[in-house]
């Protein structure tokens, strides 16, 4: 039995992006959860919450890098989730396609803003 078979008779066809996106959503979720914990620890470990300590944290290169990775994960994760919502509730192909494109533009715009924030200084 080939690997792309479910049972002896059913052949699974398609682009397999369903599985890929499902897995990506989980992987990106773990990245964001770990980032949340790191951010929380850094926040609690600081002697006080001030602009100095806060921006000092984000000034370090390793923190910029993991913040960037967390944001990219967020955008991919949000794309999969939003696509699921549109596919579940919007039956009209034209409206769904419009909403999906709007979602991508929204997320790409947010990604640009995030990059600008992370590397401003």
């Amino acid at each position: 039995m080939a690997l792309d078979n479910i049972g002896p008779k059913r052949l699974v066809v398609g682009a397999h992006y369903g599985m890929r996106d499902w897995l990506a959503q989980r992987a990106t979720a773990i990245v964001m959860a770990v980032y949340t914990v790191i951010l929380l620890i850094a926040f609690l470990a600081a002697p006080e919450f001030s602009h100095d300590t806060w921006s000092g944290l984000f000034a370090q290169q390793w923190f910029k890098a993991i913040t960037f990775v967390a944001f990219v994960s967020l955008f991919y994760h949000a794309w999969v989730g939003l696509r699921d919502i549109w596919m579940d509730y919007v039956k009209s192909v034209a409206v769904r396609l419009t909403l999906q494109i709007a979602t991508i533009l929204w997320l790409v715009g947010c990604a640009g803003y995030a990059v600008q924030i992370i590397w401003r200084t």
Binding site: W54, I117, T121
Partner: protein, 137 residues
Amino acid sequence: MTDDVKKSRPEFRNIHVFENLPNYRLPLAGFVSILHRISGFLLFLLLPFILCLLDKSLRSADTFDSIRELVSPWYVKLVILALSWAYLHHFCAGVRHLFMDVHVGLDKDSARRTSAAVFIVSLPLAALVGLKLFGVF
């Protein structure tokens, strides 16, 4: 007798939003699930606001201080509270999801218990954020 009781229970197929949803009794895990979706959508919609706050918090000491003013109106506090709840719920329900993906807690009883746990963790934490926001402590 038992047959009559069974027959009188409503059957839902292809539920309709306005006709069925108001009297459709969702299991606890169902509430966690739909709220996971709603909180995710809310976080998506408010992404520019979250990024704007991060921007202000990092740009300079002045903009850092200006956040206090920005969040002083009650409706902005409500938005922050909604965001905090959405994040907490989405986080807790997400962790539950990840465990279920590796087949932990899939049976009916533990699914109910873990969905209760999601609310037990996320709601009091969100309430704490709310109390802090509105200056109770």
